[in-house]
Symmetry: C2
Subunit: 233 residues, 2 copies
């Protein structure tokens, strides 16, 4: 198993033979943390959609719909991108539609992969176990922020890579791995100087960030199949 | 002073207001290490050119010309990309033309910056002092390898960033900074698992890599002016 890391969607075209690889999509603040939480709270599936207009169509058909652009809830939607909004009593047994600035776009970009796995610190260990079990080459795909490299997604790539031999990691993965070795155990503190932390904190969602930095509190893993994300573990 | 890091030429277009910024071009293995060495050995200037054909024109006019593509010396040129070839007794007082796979391309890309500085571990401390003296926002521009992120250039960005406050560093810079804090003192060993190390070692240039990992053995700094790189410190 070889591990490569794509630090920004702008670098996505560098992936070769994607149909033979497992892609872990990473948007820690907050799409992939929120999707992991929605599924852990018993939703039967999350339907990621890129366009707001498509999410609106689902809404008009009676689906629960969440959506965010630039960190703000889309007007008229049931939820924004905060994991705390998707309570068990609301989402249990439901299919939930979600559109976000970066994360759902990246899930769609990766959809031709052998398998697309949704990654978050919340279920880090389970994601590692699951991708080891698949035994394919792995792409750690960081959503970043508007095509820029961001620290939280890169650190999660490093966290995954820590469970693999260094010689199997490409250069970007080795860098992320070393950076994670410094941040491990101090994730929330490490993120305090980042652009995204400051952007979200200014919107009053510091508690979301704290939650998204929790490690191994969920044991299930979501994967994409036929346009829907559902639990495989 | 704000510090941002561009980890691959593919991300170069993300730089805003480049004319107001100082860009440090980084191609540790080997272009920027070699340029720094050529100037330290007394060449009056290094003329970086992107195209092999232009380098050939200079050669026909009697210039000393070095060139490499894919790690191999271009046939008929005076030098390849090994710093050891540019001996003092040959280059002293001369203008030397150089074309390389990644490094000289990046110097040209950055040429609209307020100032373009050539970075290497060899003169790390002097580069830091010089850019602090300029007191402008800084872009650390890693040449990478064929548009991919590489570890050695990223670590040098991190080494520069270590001399600035974390809060002034963007996310990519913070990651590189943390990765460097792990690699510092063990650069050569850290690079042994990288793609480029293996590529160059297979060509028998391990001693070049050892040399390019030496820190603070040169005290001068090269900057681009009117298409030529010469010493400013």
């Amino acid at each position: 198993m070889k591990i490569e890391t794509i630090l920004s969607p702008s670098l996505f075209s560098q992936i070769e033979d994607i149909d033979k690889k497992v892609v872990v999509v990473i948007d820690i603040l907050r799409a992939t943390s929120t999707i992991t939480t929605i599924l852990a709270n018993g939703a039967s599936a999350v339907i990621p959609v890129k366009e707001e207009s498509i999410a609106r169509e689902y809404k008009s058909k009676g689906y629960l719909v969440g959506g965010e652009r630039g960190g703000e809830t889309i007007a008229g939607f049931d939820f924004g991108n905060s994991p705390f909004q998707y309570k068990k009593e609301i989402v249990f047994g439901q299919e939930v539609v979600l559109t976000t600035t970066n994360g759902t776009k990246c899930i769609e970009m990766a959809s031709s992969a052998h398998q697309v796995v949704v990654g978050s610190f919340l279920n880090l260990e389970s994601v590692v176990k699951y991708i080891k079990h698949l035994d394919k080459d792995v792409v750690l795909f960081a959503a970043g922020w508007q095509d820029r490299v961001n620290l939280e997604d890169s650190l999660f790539a490093g966290a995954i890579a820590s469970s693999f031999a260094r010689r199997d990691c490409d250069d970007a993965t080795q860098m992320a791995r070393d950076a994670y070795s410094v941040a491990e155990g101090n994730l929330f503190e490490t993120l305090q100087n980042t652009n995204h932390f400051q952007r979200l904190a200014s919107k009053g969602v510091t508690k979301d960030i704290e939650y998204c930095c929790e490690v191994n509190v969920i044991s299930s893993v979501g994967v994409l199949k036929d346009g829907k994300i559902s639990l495989v573990v």
